[in-house]
């Protein structure tokens, strides 16, 4: 592999700024890596090499002309396939949108382009972001570069695997219940769910609107911070967008200072049901924070026990409503239109053919939870639990600056292992869901490997709008672990042959 590919984005950007590297050469190296590994890993659903190289040459020309460019200009990036792009199909991993090319760019995509990043392609995902393994994609599962027989997490398994396998240094994802953080955890990469409203949802195909949040996927805390600074900030097209300036996240990622930081270990996110290796790496990471000057306490958030059940009512309820737009009338698949059938019959056939099994399961659950006679008992109760979770967070953040837990209870499981058992699949998001329910900032950083060589993640949670604290903690953990291992965790994957 080209050694260029293992460098973090901020180093590559510095090389380009110094004139030692062109975006075109870097993009060519990324495209060659994708060509080599995509048949094995199924990470990218679409790649437009010519368009990427043209964009890269454009950046090189602007740089050569002396133009001041942003800190990530010329860096290739992968985009999860639920962000609208005018020059790539946007399938959401579904047959419903197979081949659909949106008429506008998502705000996240527009900001990537404006900052000079080079979009190389769109990454695989669970269908309409419903899943924790990228196995529900209509286009087949993505495989984990650490072990191609295992899942890369989900729903954003494609974006995480793209970054972990050195196809691209950066990618963007969306996190509704853990879809950025859990894939980050099981691929040994950094994944951040910013504060709800911190990054615009405009042009992100909606799944559960009160929970959906775009965010960065990267190999280092600093790279993720730089990417969040590009895509984050106020957007009038998103009614939930927070109209406040984005903090200096890159400074936080490089601060290397935890003196006096109060870290709360959440009692409810650990113990029974968690793999011993996951708990061991977590405990080591907490020790490391203490050694770096943080004050560690244990906090109890009793309502977190009900976060998963409440989430599996709110999320299907919202998605059953959001996915009603896929009716075969204006865009996407239309099935069974023989000139005789009514619009309603065509809708029924289109949604039968267009949606996969998990999508149907959740739409039916959501329809049930919202139907007359059940609304109060299910959706209403779940929204009350959400208040209790928010109150638990508020109380915990009175005595702690950040909270920590494992990102997910297990390392990457085997492909096919949980597909027949929805509840086992849903358990993968046990630790990540509370932050979606409360809207606060949350991230996963690499915390080491299990005894069988699979990545484990440390989740860090911060109060709303305090995303900088995630990066402050992540930067310290990253440096300490790099020192312990004599280099980044992912360097071990760089030397490994990835094959099935």
């Amino acid at each position: 592999m080209d050694p260029l590919l293992t460098k973090p984005a901020h180093e590559l950007a510095a090389l380009m700024a110094d004139g030692a590297l062109t975006s075109e050469d870097l993009t060519r190296a990324c495209l060659a890596r994708i060509e080599e590994l995509n048949p094995t890993l199924n990470v990218f659903l679409s790649v437009d090499a010519e368009a990427a190289l043209e964009a890269a040459r454009g950046i090189d020309a602007r740089r050569a002309a002396g133009e001041q460019l942003g800190p990530l200009a010329g860096i290739p990036v992968g985009v999860k396939d639920n962000f609208c792009t005018t020059d790539h199909p946007t399938t959401c991993g579904s047959r419903m949108l197979d081949g659909w090319i949106p008429p506008y760019d998502a705000t996240v995509v527009a900001r990537l382009r404006d900052a000079g990043l080079v979009i190389v392609g769109k990454t695989n995902m669970d269908e309409f972001a419903m899943g924790s393994s990228t196995e529900t994609s209509f286009f087949g599962p993505t495989r984990n570069p650490w072990d191609p027989d295992r899942i890369p997490g989900g729903s954003g398994g494609g974006s995480a695997a793209a970054v972990a396998s050195f196809m691209v240094p950066l990618a963007v994802g969306s996190d509704t219940g853990g879809s950025i953080r859990q894939p980050g955890s099981v691929t040994g990469t950094v994944g951040v769910k910013p504060t709800y409203g911190g990054v615009s949802r405009y042009g992100l195909v909606a799944m559960a609107s009160s929970l959906d949040q775009p965010g960065p996927c990267a190999r280092t805390a600093l790279d993720a911070a730089l990417l969040q600074q590009v895509i984050g900030g106020y957007d009038g097209h998103d009614s939930a967008s927070i109209n406040r300036p984005v903090a200096d996240l890159a400074a936080a990622a490089t601060a290397q200072d935890l003196a006096g930081l109060r870290v709360g270990v959440v009692t409810e996110l650990g113990g029974e049901g968690y793999e011993p290796d996951v708990l061991a790496r977590f405990t080591e990471a907490v020790d490391l924070l203490r050694a770096a000057g943080a004050e560690v306490v244990e906090v109890s958030c009793p309502a977190f026990r009900y976060a998963l059940p409440a989430y599996y009512l709110i999320q299907p309820a919202e998605l059953s409503s959001n996915l009603a737009r896929f009716d075969g009338m204006r865009y996407g698949l239309r099935a069974g239109d023989d000139g005789v059938r009514s619009a309603e019959e065509v809708m029924n056939l289109t949604r039968d053919e267009g949606f996969g099994k998990e999508a149907k399961r959740r739409i039916i659950i959501g329809t049930y939870a919202l139907s007359a006679g059940y609304y109060d008992a299910y959706y209403g109760s779940a929204q009350k639990v959400r208040s209790l979770i928010q109150a638990d967070f508020d109380r915990a953040f009175e005595s702690c600056d950040v909270l920590v837990s494992p990102t997910t209870p297990t390392v990457a499981f085997r492909i096919g292992e949980r597909t027949a058992d929805p509840m086992a699949m849903y358990m993968a998001d046990l630790c990540t869901i509370p932050s979606n329910m409360a809207g606060n900032a949350s991230a996963s950083f690499p915390a080491g490997l299990s005894s069988d060589g699979l990545p484990v993640g440390l989740q860090v949670m911060a109060p709303p709008m305090e995303d900088a604290r995630l990066y402050r903690v992540g930067g310290v953990v990253e440096r300490a672990l790099d020192e312990r291992w004599g280099g980044p965790l992912l360097a071990r994957l760089a030397d490994k042959e990835i094959a099935r």
Partner: protein
């Protein structure tokens, strides 16, 4: 109180998804497992707990009432399964009789 295959068929009709008898039969027990595990939510939150409405509280969001560029007719129709005279062409909506 469990969900039956008939309930699934009714929910499928509400959600406009044609489900075969086999699918309804297969989905019912799966949905019951899921509903059994989420039923605990109705036991923890008493009448005094308010329902959350927003992840992050925001006051009403307004924009200035000015015209801004939007999609052209061609762009809006670019993904249409069928079109005619610059409009979406859809199957019949009302009955013939």
């Amino acid at each position: 109180m469990g969900i039956t295959a008939d309930d699934v068929a009714r929910l499928g009709a509400l959600a406009r998804i044609r489900l075969t008898e086999q699918e309804c039969h297969d989905l019912a027990p799966e949905l019951n497992v899921i509903l059994d595990s989420v039923r605990s939510v109705s036991e923890v939150a008493g009448p005094d707990v308010p329902m959350a409405t927003h992840a992050i509280p925001l006051t009403n969001v307004f924009r200035d009432d000015v015209v801004t560029p939007s999609l052209t007719q061609d762009q809006a129709l670019s993904g249409a399964p069928d079109q005619e005279d610059g409009r979406f062409r859809v199957p019949q909506i009302l009955g013939e009789e």
